[in-house]
Symmetry: C2
């Protein structure tokens, strides 16, 4: 040891030397200015530490080497995709190895007969969607970050999107996984077949486990035939309750929309302020419904009638795909517009039974008033999955405190209404104190037992989820 | 102890006394003639022991009492539904408590807005299907035994059915569970909401776990809107390979049939022999396709054309629901007809990628010839899920041995083709030696670690799966 090195420098030096034994030099980043850029995902209010090193493996063997090294030295490993997550699950901890899977970005197979794709974890969601689209196939999961986020990140966070109301979430499309375990061994789960029930469903256990059970290094993904382009209807309501009533009527009526989104008054105003979209300022809630069926106009007519029966003040069905895209613009701009209100937003992700959606929106209104905050709600209304988005100025400590408190109160409300603290963003760091409230002590004990079974040394993304 | 009692009698007496402390007398069966009737499910070649006692709880608390008693005395517990399973997963072991959930048969809730039902485990699949049907809803999983089998059994075995090609398997419809753990504690998993990702997905871990991780005492089930009645097309082929080619063309063509079933030559002959259905004896394979869309005739026409392109010798689309039912009769009678060939059958359940279906059928033909056996294949062809059904005379030891050997060779073939040893029937006793071959040593170790986490005393259905 040179007298200028601290013990901690030596430990890191040793770690880096060992990593370089199985990784090329360009795959091991140690410059603190560079590694600092890997500290955070996109969540607010989530502390992050400084990684000791960032590794960018390109092969399964390299990932195995990283995990063997981490196990040997008892160093925590934080797996990362594109760091677009919203719960801090990908945030670094002090002295950790950040294991970025972004360089493992090959699509290995697309099979239109078996309707599967085999992909490495670093493949961008949009790249996969486009590639399978060329074969007439469709990979439904479409989180808002789909142009940036990775399949591995989607699997780690069990992410959702706009299409879930018809097509379900990421979990439904993961048939099998290759996983590097904490000690570096490789395990395959699941199958390439349409069905399969051999043993416990470890595949689904990994989906949404936020890198805390193993490192996903490959996935067999289920695909669907590409549906027709969807046609969109917009409906304006004079109250959020009426819009929620329309949602209930649509779902109770047996309709299967490919999208059913709601924007509240605050969100509509924010979008108007930013983009001059000419949405009536009197709009208390805007509902967007879409169908990708063979006869979407008939579906839109039926749903439009239900919206009117629920009190819609205006119903605008699109005539074609171009008009549909225009109607969706308002929804697409929502989060950016809400960010513009105060500079920063904190996006919640509470899912309630859709029959309780109106109570949820009413409650969020009450909470916004109580804490003197602007909280806009955009919701995957068909799923009851709300994103109450708290706008605040981070330079104002009092407002920041109120933002955090309102956020928690929104989760409490969701639980009270029979919902969950997270519909699609995950627990990460942001909601780990809330997990126990939802799951209860017995559930927590069994969750920890599962963690212990896969990661006895607690080196896989420690401090997340629990 | 009276001098006429053996130590084992005393142990059983003690067990029964303790059980009676929390169960009414009529819920505790000890008459060996009665308990013997609970020894087996419907699998062939699976040994079963003699239960010490059969309990029939009606409440969650009673199940908790049973599990606390079992834990205190270290007595194995074998949970049972209707015992229609085909892998021996519900077979009793010597001295066990058979825990029959059949008396917990209440449908607690049906909610058309949230599209969920809440049910106890003993509800019969058909009873649930009919009850939700009255609300315009649809519970898709439809194993052949649907008129007898229970929802709890379906969850335990992750069962499938004819509808899976469009609607997926039981696992897709289980949103949340109430589970009594080995030590009697109650745990809730999952959610009532359309989406939810709070913590590890323990719900899916229980689906297909064959009662080896906990006792399911309640389930939140996802429902769909009831689709239109399906219209069926039958297509005859001069070779199994041509029928499989048609299956590939249909799936590659982006079609979404609600049913896509295949019967091979042997099965067609058996059905003809039993029911004089007038199927041409020259038929080498019969394909049945159905659509439950809004315009099924157009779908049938498109699929009929693909069948003809693949070499179908005859294509018969049904004009209405009654004709459709007639066409499905042959499929419905298949297993009974194959049973009639030799008195007993052994039904395999190998699922391969559908692109390998032709190779699978060809291989089964080869195996039948090698072992001088009649093996009929019915297949959920759209899923690549084959049920090679070995017909044999159990009074003939040599034929029985050949039947067992051919069964194993069929599983080996499935694995070789990239498939799984079980698409929907589960592992149970029947296939436990094969699980390791499919999953490999690392997978087996992690499967066992999960089992250990939930059932450290190994009292939950021991000897199944592993």
């Amino acid at each position: 040891m040179s007298r200028f090195e601290t013990p901690s420098d030596t430990a890191t030096g040793n770690l880096v030397d060992l990593l370089l034994g199985g990784l090329p030099a360009e795959a091991v980043l140690t410059d603190p200015d560079v590694t600092a850029a890997y500290a955070n995902d996109m969540a607010s209010f989530c502390p992050a530490g400084s990684p000791a090193v960032v590794v960018l493996p390109r092969t399964v063997e390299q990932v195995q080497h990283v995990m063997r090294t981490a196990t040997a030295l008892r160093v925590p490993v934080v797996p990362q995709g594109a760091r677009t997550g919203l719960s801090g699950a990908a945030n670094a901890s002090d002295g950790c190895i950040v294991l970025s899977l972004t360089k493992m970005d090959r699509i290995l197979e697309i099979n239109p007969v078996d309707r599967i794709a085999v992909a490495e974890p670093g493949v961008i969601n949009a790249a996969l969607s486009r590639a399978v689209g060329e074969h007439g196939l469709y990979y439904p999961p479409d989180p808002s970050s789909w142009e940036m986020c990775t399949i591995g990140g989607n699997i780690g966070t069990a992410s959702g999107g706009l299409c879930c109301v018809k097509y379900g979430v990421t979990a439904e499309y993961v048939l099998g996984l290759d996983v590097v375990l904490a000690d570096g061994r490789l395990m395959s789960t699941g199958r390439r077949t349409a069905k399969g029930v051999a043993g416990y469903d470890l595949t689904r256990l990994f989906v949404g486990s936020e890198g805390s059970l193993g490192i996903v290094v490959g996935a067999v993904l289920g695909l669907r035939p590409k549906p027709p382009e969807q046609l969109v209807l917009a409906a304006e309501f004079a109250s959020a309750a009426a819009a929620c009533d329309a949602v209930c009527r649509i779902m109770e009526g047996g309709h299967v929309p490919s999208l059913l989104e709601l924007m509240d008054r605050t969100t509509v105003k924010a979008v108007n302020a930013m983009a001059q979209m000419g949405l009536p300022e009197s709009t208390e809630a805007l509902l967007l419904a879409a169908f990708d069926t063979t006869a979407p106009a008939a579906d839109l007519a039926a749903v439009g009638a239900l919206c009117e029966a629920a009190g819609a003040t205006q119903v605008v069905p699109a005539d074609d795909v171009a008009e549909s895209e225009l109607l969706l613009q308002a929804r697409r701009l929502s989060l950016t517009a809400l960010e513009a209100v105060k500079g920063v937003t904190m996006i919640d992700d509470v899912c309630v039974p859709r029959s309780r959606l109106a109570e949820m929106l009413e409650g969020v209104d009450r909470i916004a008033e109580k804490y003197r905050l602007t909280i806009g709600v955009v919701a995957h209304a068909g799923d009851g999955n709300t994103h109450p988005t708290v706008c605040f100025d981070p330079a104002d400590p009092d407002e920041s405190r109120r933002a955090r408190e309102s956020f928690d109160e929104i989760m409490a409300l969701g639980l009270e209404l029979g919902g969950t603290i997270t519909g699609e963003h995950g627990v990460g760091v942001l909601k780990k104190e809330w997990l126990a409230r939802e799951i209860g002590p017995v559930g927590m004990e069994m969750q920890r037992a599962v963690k212990q079974a896969f990661d006895p040394l607690n080196i896989l993304n420690p401090g997340k989820l629990f």
